[in-house]
Symmetry: C2
Subunit: 568 residues, 2 copies
Amino acid sequence: MAKQVVVIGAVALGPKAACRFKRLEPESSVIMIDESRIISYGGCGIPYYISGDVSDARELQSTTFHMVRDARFFEQVKGVHVLTRTRALEIDRAARQVLIKDLESGKEDRLNYDKLVLATGSSPRKISLPGSNLENVFTVSGLEEAVKIKDSISRGSINRAVVIGAGFIGLEMAEALIDLWGIDTTVVEIAPQILPGFTSMAMSRMAKKVMEDNGVRFLLNEKVLELAGENSVSGVVTDKRELEADLVVMAVGVQPNSELARQAGLKISNQGAIIVDEYMRTSDPDIYAGGDCVEIANLVTGKAGYFPLGSMANRQGRVIGTNLAGGQDVFPGAVGSFAVKLFDHGVVGTGLSLEKAREEGYDALSTFVVQFDKSHFYPDNDLIYLELVFENNTGRILGLQGISTNKDGLKGRVDAVAVLLPHQPTTKDISNLELAYSPPFSSAMDALNNLGHTAENVLQGRNKEIGPEDFVRLWETRDQQDIIFLDCRDLENAAEYLQKYPDKWRNVSNESMSSNLDKVPRAETIVLVCNTGGRSYESQLRLRKIGIDNTLNVSGGMKLLKKWGLDI
Amino acid sequence: MAKQVVVIGAVALGPKAACRFKRLEPESSVIMIDESRIISYGGCGIPYYISGDVSDARELQSTTFHMVRDARFFEQVKGVHVLTRTRALEIDRAARQVLIKDLESGKEDRLNYDKLVLATGSSPRKISLPGSNLENVFTVSGLEEAVKIKDSISRGSINRAVVIGAGFIGLEMAEALIDLWGIDTTVVEIAPQILPGFTSMAMSRMAKKVMEDNGVRFLLNEKVLELAGENSVSGVVTDKRELEADLVVMAVGVQPNSELARQAGLKISNQGAIIVDEYMRTSDPDIYAGGDCVEIANLVTGKAGYFPLGSMANRQGRVIGTNLAGGQDVFPGAVGSFAVKLFDHGVVGTGLSLEKAREEGYDALSTFVVQFDKSHFYPDNDLIYLELVFENNTGRILGLQGISTNKDGLKGRVDAVAVLLPHQPTTKDISNLELAYSPPFSSAMDALNNLGHTAENVLQGRNKEIGPEDFVRLWETRDQQDIIFLDCRDLENAAEYLQKYPDKWRNVSNESMSSNLDKVPRAETIVLVCNTGGRSYESQLRLRKIGIDNTLNVSGGMKLLKKWGLDI
């Protein structure tokens, strides 16, 4: 039987649900409304439009075959009727009607529905700052706003920008501003790290260093108090200083647009997101919701999660489209994978970071592996830096994060673990993960397998290791301690440190250690370092065999410490 | 309690097992023997040594920190005693002894063992050909042989090479010969396709085309009868012709080296591989075996499988090392993932190809998706061509294969499915697979998700599609049929074909179809084409709605057909 479906919101989820439904039930009718004039664009592409990688805003709104996905396109090609510049004012669930208003004419109207889809998305979180209404203060809220930012920049009068917030969008915007436009860019973040909540402290340090090496300046642990200026913004006042700025981008996260749902009496979470079941139905079975306005299950923690991401929205849209047509597709939840390009590096992760896992109450550990993406003898290989987060005792995998200049190679490894996370894999599964292999693609023992091995050795107490933060703590207090840093590499690698730190740095290469045990220094604490942590692990075993067990192995070795920004 | 472990074979699995065991039980002793002088090298790297990507053979034998893994290295660094140029003649299981022979001195000796590891590997399969003992006829059997091949080539007298066998090694060798050395290279393969048993006919056509575009010549369905020449090879005689050749590489697969195990009365499969349990133990619990000489479970078919691959050997070696030390690690089997670089392309797969799945008795289907690796608006994106193999009715995923110039991006997608295969995923799981997303890494709806969608639509009878072979069959017999090829793209794309084939080619773009239904041609069979199969699928639904259901949608569209080599 033909239905009338109304879809509120015409970006990502809305169009996907509408079109899928129309393909399944061409005899039914769909009306999709949106407040904006521009609809169905790739919002995640906005930073690349600002950076010039995408030259024309319309490309973000186009199909692969270069048709603009505007109201006319949906009408003629997809059979979906679209009302732009139209706001949904109210849902009358009893009457199954949506009260709408034409934002141009001000005229109100009512749309009947058999099934309703809420694709209301999210809005940039607003921090109430004096001066936030000044000119050249922007959020990244949509394509229309993005066009304004680019217009403002391309007039050439912008010299200094401040980005507030070091989340994904903030970092992508910072890269866009400095990379194409050469604008002196500072990112101010209230948290003690970039990408807070997503990456570990260690990984965020590595990511920050990449950005800094490319000219972005960061002010962490710093709170913006107000924006200064007369008409146009001229400065940013923080709790620590005043920054000059003729452009300010506020990117402090997003919040679900759930007001309409709340007013209609639908169940809303404490965090303000619409609650849906695994069929993407709200508490009213005739109303579906998905995308940035809903919360779904976090398949790692089992708790509710909020994942405002275009890929989620698209996949949820298809599930809704299927179910509108009487299907029973489920969207079981998400593990929270992410990918972000930062200049020539990718930072990719899934599941929980170490700190997040501990926050969630897990007895969590992490370990690092630094390894080439390809067989080490194969030319043009890139290093991949991976951090595996796992539960103590059980060895359950909680998350994986990485950084590398081989962005696709990194993402492939993270994805391989991400898709397994709902199956609750353990370190043993990672140890023995079957990944396609030949030398131009990976080592015979891939970095991921080695990560599993290392985690197992840590769990079994065989590998007693420390991460970069612990290393630095020990290093900085070395003069107050009976501590020695034993370099397990060849003299060639160690020489520089031996010379600089004659009291604290020693060298016995792992390979020569068995015949040089008398040269191994004794101290209350012996920190073992090599290039990536593998040889120093062997040394740790070697020393344990002769009764020296007060050693700490630096996970990921000097390569990791340097990537992290250690300069000793 | 300290043990005596003997390891027979010192490449890949042997060293891995030996070193892992020694790390776990440093008090035990390990003797590793090998017939060759050169041990512990990356055999998979041989084609890249031939091609010059790896300039020195020693690099294949070196650690990441540039130490050569020779007998001395294992002795001093790993505590593993190595006997090179030593053959194991016989295993005396009752006495727990291995009878060995020094190939230099001819002296025989006996080694006692508590536990024995068979890492005897595989040998190139020999076809009994007249002339195979001629000079410049090689197999790719080890590093010493590889050095001979390279020496022979670098003397500059080789102009024409014939590679017998179009498996992975054959193709890698062909690339090496033509790419660096400019040698006129022909590959002769007895099967009707390259990579027989691994890739589908369709995928192998695409791979072959890449090789041909780079100058490699293929002779399929052709059997080599003899090699001609006096001292050195001068030609190859097949059942169809005689080829000039001053170098012949025989690469017709490998066979497990299981003779020693067979003589010792261990269980051997009909295919000649050593049978092991999931702890990698042979039928004698004191004897472990792994790598190219064993068979393990195929986790897709549930039957025994043979996976001679360096990555398998390494991972199995670690399991054996752990279990030698009293551990209980398991190696549950493999799904059979592979990756091969062919010039600027990668071909990567996992599980079963379409033909292989049908051979195994599955009611198997496959579908193609051709999509950009990144968001389509993001610059510098590469196309990924994927083929998903799934079971009719159940939708169970049986395999995935692909080809792309984004080798790592392709491998990442295949790996994400590979690691799930043991969990028996269905098309729905692929539809909704959570992969890390942002525009520089993928589309919001990744190619893999779309592959799941397409498979679902096929399973539900909604998308009635054909692959490239069926298309060609229909195309070639078009004059004997009431058939029309309806191009669902814009006139701009269709014009060329309309002009060339005015009788059979028609054009009504998908986007204009609803208002041009009168222009849709009628015929007994209507084949719908667009660029990648998406718009033509929409057209198929559109036409079905008005009662035209005799349509066939070309999976993967014109992009796939062209990649496949169709020239119309």
